[in-house]
């Protein structure tokens, strides 16, 4: 591929570059389809609707995170704190629901019988908690000029520590049953999990925002050349704060989704969420150097490890091979991207 782009400048064929950009997405889509076909061929049970539904539901929160991460990485940033922010948001949401909707005569039941008013308040609190961490990340990166890797590594520790302080290290239980029954494992029209509907909605809306709006274009421009963006009058700092704030808000949403799905906070369960989200984004063809990428790619990038994992289980291969495979593909994807960039710069 490096050969092609090196040859471009002399007389670039009209659509080659744009086709290259799309072929990345197309290519991994082919991989996804091939994987699905392969697992189905080996074990027809793989493609049954229940299995597909559970793959989708289990990965809904990750998709929400990865969509936010797409914006962050396109802006040439990174956010390592998302797993901790997810936990923190879930803890805040749960604590608020318990504080407002707990039954004082029966503390052990928590807020299990609480209604939608209480649930709504808790969800709002969780989203705001995520948003707040996102704004902090944004301020650190854009205003304090702390490199995103370090800034978000710091907030990763802080948000996780704060979650342990708030809970004393034990998961919060007694989440409203109504929340778990609908958002957690309820189905829309008796077929599609709520979690999937929400994640898909987030992906579609933000995919359109990235591709078709000024907000998206500024994200690409800043990831591509922040100095150029500054010189044409784009408020780079403010935009970056918005991007990290969006990531925080989505981490908050993922926290609420996870709280509903598991009926409890899962404070020890999200240490690899950042890696999973970054891997999905990069597998989906987004450049770690910023400036290019699409949400469509990210969706596929979430699905490939998910299908691998589930596929290995169904065909009886140790599912930990999924981690090995995804790790290898991730490194290869970044390597290829780097080669491509270097070839372009030489030209």
């Amino acid at each position: 591929m490096s050969g092609t782009s090196k040859a471009l400048p002399a007389r670039p064929p009209a659509t080659l570059a744009s086709r290259l950009a799309t072929t990345n997405v197309l290519w991994i889509f082919v991989v996804l389809v091939a994987l699905v076909l392969f697992f189905t061929a080996v074990q027809p049970n793989f493609a049954n609707p229940l299995n597909i539904r559970s793959i989708a539901a289990d990965n809904a929160a990750l998709l929400v995170l990865a969509v936010g991460m797409t914006f962050v990485i396109v802006s040439a940033g990174i956010d390592l704190s998302i797993g901790s922010v997810l936990i923190f948001s879930g803890v805040v949401a749960a604590k608020v629901m318990l504080a407002v909707g707990g039954d004082p005569r029966d503390p052990s039941a928590g807020a299990a019988d609480a209604g939608w008013g209480v649930i709504g308040l808790g969800i709002l609190a969780g989203l705001l908690a995520g948003l707040a961490w996102g704004v902090i990340n944004g301020l650190l990166v854009a205003k304090a000029r702390v490199p995103p890797l370090i800034a978000t590594l710091g907030t990763l520790g802080m948000a996780l520590g704060a979650s342990y302080l708030l809970t004393g290290g034990t998961d919060v239980r007694g989440i409203p049953r109504q929340l778990a029954g609908t958002l957690g494992f309820g189905l829309v029209l008796n077929s599609v999990p709520w979690l999937v509907v929400i994640a898909a909605g987030v992906a579609v809306v933000l995919g359109l925002v990235l591709a078709y709006t000024r907000f998206g274009r500024y994200t690409y421009a800043i990831g591509s050349n922040p100095e150029a963006a500054r010189r044409v009058g784009i408020r780079v700092d403010r935009h970056l704060i918005k991007v990290y704030a969006l990531m925080g808000l989505l981490s908050g949403l993922a926290g609420v989704m996870s709280l509903a799905h598991f009926s409890t906070t899962t404070i020890s369960g999200h240490s690899a969420d950042n890696l999973a989200a970054i891997a999905a984004v990069v597998l989906g063809g987004t450049s770690l150097f910023g400036g290019s990428g699409r949400v469509t790619g990210t969706v596929i990038g979430v699905l490939i490890p998910a299908v691998l994992q589930s596929g290995f289980v169904t065909i009886g291969v140790n599912p930990y091979w999924q981690n090995v495979a995804v790790g290898a593909v991730l490194v290869a994807a970044v390597y290829l991207d780097q080669v491509r960039r270097r070839a372009r710069e030489r030209a």
């Binding site: 080659l16 050349n225 963006a229 010189r231």
Partner: protein, 255 residues
Amino acid sequence: MTTPLLEARALVKTYGHVQALRGANFTAYAGEVVALIGDNGAGKSTLVSCLSGTSQADAGEVWFEGRQVRLDSPAHAQRLGIEVVYQDLALAADLDPAANLFLGRELMRPGVLGWFGVLDRRRMREEATAAFGELGIELPDAGTRVSSLSGGQRQSVAVARSVAWASKVIFMDEPTAALGVVQRERVLDVMRRVRDRGIAVVLISHNMPEVLAVADRVEVLRLGQRVARFDIAGVSLDDLVGAMTGALDVTDGAA
């Protein structure tokens, strides 16, 4: 004499302990090509950044259309009709030429979609193609990323962007440095055409034949100060080089 369109008066700019500008003066009139020349490190790029809002002078005044102004941001300068073709081009390489042309000034779809921030990509493409065409710039396709264009084509995009938006002054910091002979001629042509629209074109160049070919006036900067001004008529290459190197001692006011 008419009032200058843009004027720098005794600008001082210090970076650490480097004095990039030490009381530099500069004048540009509407409808002229004025060359700003000087040795490497003379302060040309710094002067341009102070006159285009990219950086602020530590002391001195900037006058625009007969009034003193404080150019506190590039956006402010752009609102006044001042544009710059930067030496490093300042393009977003991952975006296409049309997106670069409209960067920071995107056109929105009418109605509700525009309210949601949806871009009018088709109109931007059409208008960009027209703007490139007007300057005789051929681009393979408005949808190609700038990173896959040749050096000359990138330069053309940067020039076209500034020309499209400049209504008063356009600074070009070594706009032909990366170009071949044919493309260089084309950019010089663009400068003449822009000048004929009544815009002040400030050309920064190390290429003296080029300066002599296109400029109406020349101002010379040395060690952060204006040391000479020439009308192009009757000036020789030796005069220019002499003023740049300090061999020829001319005072600031000399015409």
